[in-house]
Subunit: 86 residues, 2 copies
């Protein structure tokens, strides 16, 4: 694996898993007032487009990383809608 590929791989993992601490924080505190639903809606839409892009290009890394991100950001949207009422 070339250095550039390693950097791209680590970058992809960081960006993909970065949402996990936020999900855990919301799960613990059950509070979402400071969090923007618009932000998570736009990013989830963008990530869904990246999945479509990856499928059209038959690019497995793009499909896999963005599918994981799609699920994680979907969880965030569910949490925001769910805990917003509380």
């Amino acid at each position: 694996m070339v250095l550039t590929d390693v950097i791209g791989f680590v970058a992809g993992i960081c960006v993909t898993i970065s949402i996990v601490p936020q999900i855990l924080k919301v799960w613990k505190r059950k509070k979402v007032k400071d969090i923007s639903l618009k932000t998570f809606s736009i990013i989830t839409f963008g990530i869904a487009l990246w999945v479509v892009y990856g499928i059209l290009k038959k690019d497995l890394p793009i499909i896999i990383t963005n599918s994981i991100s799609l699920v994680l950001n979907g969880i965030m949207i569910f949490f925001i809608l769910h805990f917003e009422k509380e």
Copy 2:
């Protein structure tokens, strides 16, 4: 421009600008308690790596979109550190 490129272009713009509503929300409310500093630190590190990746690959779209994201996420980290004390 091929349909696939349009999808990739729109996906990149969505993901890049998605953080703006969150920045505006924090700027208005001056509250960041529900927001995870870990999340923004990891994603900013990952985006910085994407900029390095783009430079090594001489890929202008990757460099430009991720440089913008780097600045926007840097603003978020500054806001979290700044308003956390309040």
